[in-house]
Assembly symmetry: C2
Amino acid sequence: MKARVHVMLKNGVLDPQGEAVRHALGALGFDKVEGVRQGKVIDLDLADGATEADVTEMCEKLLANTVIESYSIEIQ
Amino acid sequence: MKARVHVMLKNGVLDPQGEAVRHALGALGFDKVEGVRQGKVIDLDLADGATEADVTEMCEKLLANTVIESYSIEIQ
């Protein structure tokens, strides 16, 4: 089973990486960029028998800092 | 227009972040994790008139290092 996890900073949490990308894109002449948020994507290759609940537990325990980050799971 | 860009290390390129996550998950008792690859996700908020071609150009020029990274674009 394969799972893809997206971890993004919650809305309202300052995202300096995203801001840096936005500035850099502006400096390169991309003037239509109004906002950028950067996060992490984690692709997990799981043995048979693993469930979405396991992935949720991984997110809660390790992959995301749930104080400032939100996550979403896609099973593929 | 909103676009989501995924930037992942190409297959065969060593991914120390992914390996670190895999080890940490193993240490936490998640023994069904066979592989982990970590990448970036960049959410772009674009003004009207921006096209997918613009986003491709952003990837080629700034967002991805195409020597070692591949990218994919989703228009939302």
